[in-house]
Amino acid sequence: MAALEVRDLQTHFFTREGVVRAVDGVSFSVDRGQTLGIVGESGCGKSVTALSIMGLIPKPPAKIVGGEVQWEGRELTTLSERQLEDVRGHEIAMIFQDPMTSLNPTLTIGTQIKETLRRHLDISKDAARKRAIELLDEVGIPKPESRLDDYPHRLSGGMRQRAMIAIAISCNPELLIADEPTTALDVTVQAQVLDLLEELQASHEMAMILITHDMGVIAESADDVVVMYAGQIVEQAPVQELFDHPEHPYTEALLGALPQIDDASGRNQRLTAIRGRPPDLIDPPKACRFAARCPHASSGDSCATHMPELREIRPGHFVRSQHPASERAGKRVEVTA
């Protein structure tokens, strides 16, 4: 059985303007030692999905209105806040996008690691300090003893994200959720941090959910990929399969938007863009949510009136579209701006 199993998760925001269906029926599972990549543009619900698993969505206005989050056989959505607190940081840990703001500026790095250790493990102050130094060393922060008493503002962005990672893995979690862990970092540092995450995942035998808008990150680190669009999963496949045979027009567009540096002809190609914008998630259309932007859809199609089901087009490869690439009989229409 998978370590984490999310079934038909629905998280809605109850705002003054109406109910925003930020996450609308999302299902996936992650095994230990596996990395699930969730990819999509901002506002597609990928972060809300992660926060829903952790029980960290802002309530109000947000609420999980349906679905299950099965963690090691336990249902997380029905746990009390106190029970959830025991899971968070201990069994499931999370790191966030911006290491500049995600660490408390008024507490030392050491304090912020030690408080996590002392919260979840029965450990003395001295032992916590020793463990904190080991952790900083493990995430590749030089001179960990002296860094322990430093405040976050003394560290560079990459070092801060490493410190965040040290906090996250401090209690040996079984699942690590990384929400855009490299987006706020310098390009040169991004790769280092990704490598570190991969290394740690292997050595700690963790399951990992890697959330990003960057197909490059997915290609480097993920085993399985979930593509989200407008609160729903539109495509789901193992990483190699997805990159080799993308089915959903949106996925194709995402891949088309990735600069192809090693491809000689790619230098002359323009980055492709997708016309239009995602639908309003208050009262979304009954139709396929991508229909308005889809280069293959026409008004007569059933996807203009009915939401396509997420179907298994090949073993292990799911797609939610009436016009997947393999059913377009060879005529690949270029998605252009």
């Binding site: 940081g89 966030f96 408390n104 996590t116 919260r119 405040y151």
Partner: protein, 311 residues
């Protein structure tokens, strides 16, 4: 940290010099001031005393230097009106009351205002929040003389038998309750509003989400992560307010007939006792400066980022 405090202390000196200078220049403009030799009806003995002390026939900068020396040797010169009395005597006699009044009012403002603001923020948009903020907004807007008179009217006169608060004076603890409340209400309301605002803002911060993601107990998140960061703006505001409470208690001292420095200040201005006015102004300025100094040091303790940046 020690270096920070020493640097900050060092910077206080020129500030005090500038403030004395401003006071000095302003006072020289007043008709019949102690630093103008013409058209004055000051008793002969005091005149001589002043002459000797500040050298009134010297150029102004020598007079200024001598006055500064006086301030730093804690000798503010003689009173122009009260024969044989020094400004020092007056400070010694009246200052403790003002200090105590300001301190008690500040204590009330902090001890009630900050928890009230915290509660409001943690229960944002609840009935408690709305009630607390309604009273804070009103409390902040009402002039202290109305608060004082209403407190006297109800708690000392109408229901005086029940509460046993006197209408005036500064002797027993009962006599200190109403003035401290009257003076502290406005700042209390201010602290409540400020704390609510900064607390709400802090609770939105990413590092609070991180703390939650670490599984910390809510109590610890509020006490360690949220409170400390929300208190930074409160501390910044507390300095000027403490200064204001100690130096701006004229009205409360007058209404409750408290023999404090504020009341004496007004008496001295209307009685044209300008050496006393000058001495007291310098004293009050130094208090404000010291209050700001304490705030800066607290600020440095609360927010490590400022320790290096600020002098």
């Amino acid at each position: 940290m020690t270096a920070f405090i020493v640097r900050r202390l060092f910077w206080t000196l020129p500030v005090i010099l500038i403030v004395i200078f401003f006071t000095f220049v302003l006072m020289r403009q007043i008709e019949g001031n102690p630093f103008r030799t013409s058209e004055r009806n000051v008793p002969e003995s005091i005149q001589q005393n002043l002459e000797e002390k500040f050298g009134l026939n010297d150029p102004w900068y020598v007079q200024y230097a001598k006055y500064v020396k006086g301030v730093f040797t804690l000798d503010l010169g003689p009173s122009l009106v009260l024969r044989g009395r020094d400004v020092n005597d007056i400070v010694r006699e009246h200052f403790p009351e003002s200090l105590e009044l300001g301190g008690l009012a500040m204590l009330f403002a902090l001890v009630v205002g900050i928890p009230l603001g915290m509660l409001s923020a943690l229960r944002a948009n609840s009935f408690l929040d709305y009630t607390a903020m309604f009273f804070s907004n009103v409390g902040f807007a009402i002039p202290s003389f109305l608060v004082a008179t209403l407190l006297i009217y109800f708690f000392a006169l109408q229901w005086g038998d029940v509460f046993g608060f006197p209408t005036s004076g500064w002797t027993t603890w009962q006599s200190k309750v109403l003035p401290s409340l009257a003076l502290g209400l406005g700042p209390m309301a201010y602290f409540a509003r400020l704390t609510r605002g900064t607390m709400l803002e802090t609770l939105q911060q990413d590092y609070i989400r991180t703390a939650k993601a670490k599984g910390l107990r809510w109590r610890r998140i509020v006490a360690v992560h949220a409170l400390r960061n929300s208190l930074i703006p409160v501390v910044t505001a507390a300095g000027p307010i403490l200064g204001f409470l100690i130096t701006g208690s004229f009205i409360i001292e007058q209404i409750f007939a408290i023999p404090g420095i504020g009341r004496y200040y007004v008496t001295a201005v209307t009685g044209r006792d300008y050496s006393v006015v000058m001495g007291l102004t310098v004293l009050l300025s130094i208090i404000v400066i010291l209050a700001n100094l304490v705030v800066d040091i607290l600020y440095g303790i609360l927010d490590p980022r400022t320790r290096e940046a600020r002098t």
